[in-house]
Symmetry: C2
Subunit: 375 residues, 2 copies
């Protein structure tokens, strides 16, 4: 049984300075909270989202089918991140398309839709925006920041930008930066979107069209990288969609995997904003706390003081275990307290969203200990 | 020093029945030969090509810069496949775009360009077409059929379709069929092409346009899968294209890897035919000799009698060593003679085209032994 979630929105009139040198003002952040903030405001957990997710982390919206939050298996009453004990906050990041201010909204400086003019936002910018939201919610120090994938990058960045404002960082299926291959996949997806004639340089809103072709391709590429080769073979293999005979066609769907990918692409292209896709993949590309330290991650993490849990999944080739181990090593180099679980799961990067009993049990234990600290 | 290559063309008036039930007549095959056929016609080696290659396997065209054949490091006088000893034949496959009859040519049944009507061709069809060419060249039995990647699939198929017409099969960086992930990448590439508004359902020729956007995306995806994660990190890493400062742009090139991929995409889209891309990736998808045997590769290979060399490369994640080992096992199950080399090379799938001394030395030894047999 899940619970009813209530989306909220906070307005921020003051300009938020961004890493690029630009700034954004008069913006909204969509967020949700679950559970009760305790008397000394010590039990708050911030959950950061990845590419295609939002502030709607757990619970459901009454009357809306399939409205369950994206990490509802992890977060809720009695769940590993137990909302009977924690006050959990989900925030939709700036530039996203699920309620917070993004490229589809009006630029207060021009009175026109931002479109391509929405400023490039980084993981660090998101963390700053999240910190401002916490200020307004009266939360000085978090029990934990938790995130998977790009969300894990935000959790890691929190430990560097606001070390004094958090106790724990839980970084799941993440990496200290993207590899060249990761950037390459992002770039192909972006090119598919940008070269779609319906993109109109990012100003497609006023043309009444959506670059759906590009978004479909972007999502199909994404999906391939979220799954492991093994799980794809298991789920789809070389199974034909219909019957046993080949159709001998280059354009009709022949294999189940094609049908699955096209379906995922179609679905995604009907709701996800094309400019948001560009912005979020770019934030992924740019994240690299070691950059200012000549690539020395240990140097970059010197300022951190949180305690850490890192989790990775053996078949995740998008954010491979070796990348998590780089973070673990750099944390240990700094004498920081770090737990690390490498989960032998077949599902690839997607594993961080799925119910693996060992994964769930690691998360549960870790958060039980945090709960004791802040009780 | 390389040698001058001379492209040739053979006309085939008679209909070639295709696996799909369709047939193709009045077609041409472009081919090249290097070296001299010996008196008893026993020293012929057929080289089969992969997606983006042709009959121009070795040598160069006088006056044309960068016209060196795609496997010139492997094939030529004194090279591992020594044209002082072998008569080497390269054939451009039907449906390709380098001289043999393809979708850009006139359909004799309609008098119009084939376009989308070009029949779907399979690895088996190509092998049949190659066998007909050999008939015309007066070659009854090949010393070897050699191919890498999709070319390796043709070499494998030769051993099943014409076991009596060959002594050796050399199957490099190949697989007994594509995995779901392989098919998935092909499908994304095809969707990028087919949904490009300039594709016009495959009949873009009469519109005077080329679906370059789609071809660019297809090639970028391809390139990512040809390289290993490691070699991408080594060659490009997170290096910026210009200077040390970020531009904070979603559309400008920021990282070297983006520049490389865009360049490869642009180049490819200027010369490769979109319909050919669909046809060749489909031939890859369809190849699966074990299909008629309930997935039992050992059963499928029962008819083979050739001696085999298989080569794979450790970092090739497109056609991983495990896939070559499946073939090796199935051959051994049938008591066939097979040598297998797994080369520890960092270059991913591309390794089969590169100069790795251990790889070259394995190939040289194997072909030296063949040369002794047929001398």
């Amino acid at each position: 049984m899940s619970f009813i979630a209530t989306p909220q929105s906070m307005h921020f009139p003051d300009a938020l300075p961004l890493q690029s040198g630009a700034s954004i003002r008069d913006y909204h952040l969509a967020y949700e909270t679950y559970g009760q903030l305790n008397a000394d405001q010590s039990n708050a957990v911030l959950v950061c989202h990845a590419l295609n997710a939002s502030h709607h982390v757990a619970g459901y919206y009454p009357g809306e089918e399939k409205s369950t939050g994206w990490w509802d298996n992890m977060i809720g009453p009695g769940k590993p991140v137990d909302t009977d004990k924690f006050f959990v906050i989900g925030v939709n990041n700036l530039g996203s398309c699920f309620g917070s201010t993004g490229p589809m909204h009006i630029n207060p400086d021009t009175g026109r839709v931002y479109g391509a003019d929405f400023p490039v936002v980084t993981v660090e910018d998101w963390v700053n925006a999240q910190a401002r939201l916490l200020d307004r919610l009266g939360i000085q120090r978090l029990a934990a920041v938790l995130g998977g994938s790009l969300g894990g990058m935000q959790a890691l960045s929190w430990t560097l930008q606001y070390p004094e404002r958090m106790r724990h960082a839980v970084v799941v299926a993440s990496a200290p930066n993207l590899t060249a291959e990761n950037i390459a996949f992002n770039e192909v997806a972006r090119r598919a979107i940008v070269t779609d004639p319906d993109f109109h340089g990012g100003n497609f809103y006023q043309h009444g069209v959506i670059p759906q072709r590009g978004l479909r391709i972007a999502r199909m590429i994404g999906h391939i990288t979220y799954l492991s080769d093994d799980v794809m073979n298991q789920k789809f293999g070389r199974q034909l969609r219909e019957g046993l005979e080949l159709k001998y066609s280059t354009q009709d769907i022949e294999f189940q995997i094609e049908s699955y990918l096209r379906y995922q692409g179609d679905k995604f292209s009907s709701y996800f904003d094309a400019n948001t896709y560009l912005l979020i993949t770019r934030a992924l590309d740019y994240f690299d706390p070691a950059r200012r330290y000549g690539g020395q991650l240990s140097q970059a993490l010197k300022v951190a003081s949180a305690r850490f849990l890192l989790v990775s999944f053996t078949t995740d080739w998008r954010f491979a275990p070796a990348r998590s181990r780089e973070i673990v090593k750099a944390l240990l180099d700094n004498g920081l307290q770090v737990s690390y679980a490498e989960i032998d799961a077949p599902h690839g990067h997607d594993a961080f969203l799925l119910d693996d009993p060992r994964y769930m049990s690691v998360m549960r234990s870790y958060f039980e200990n945090i709960a004791k600290e802040v009780a």
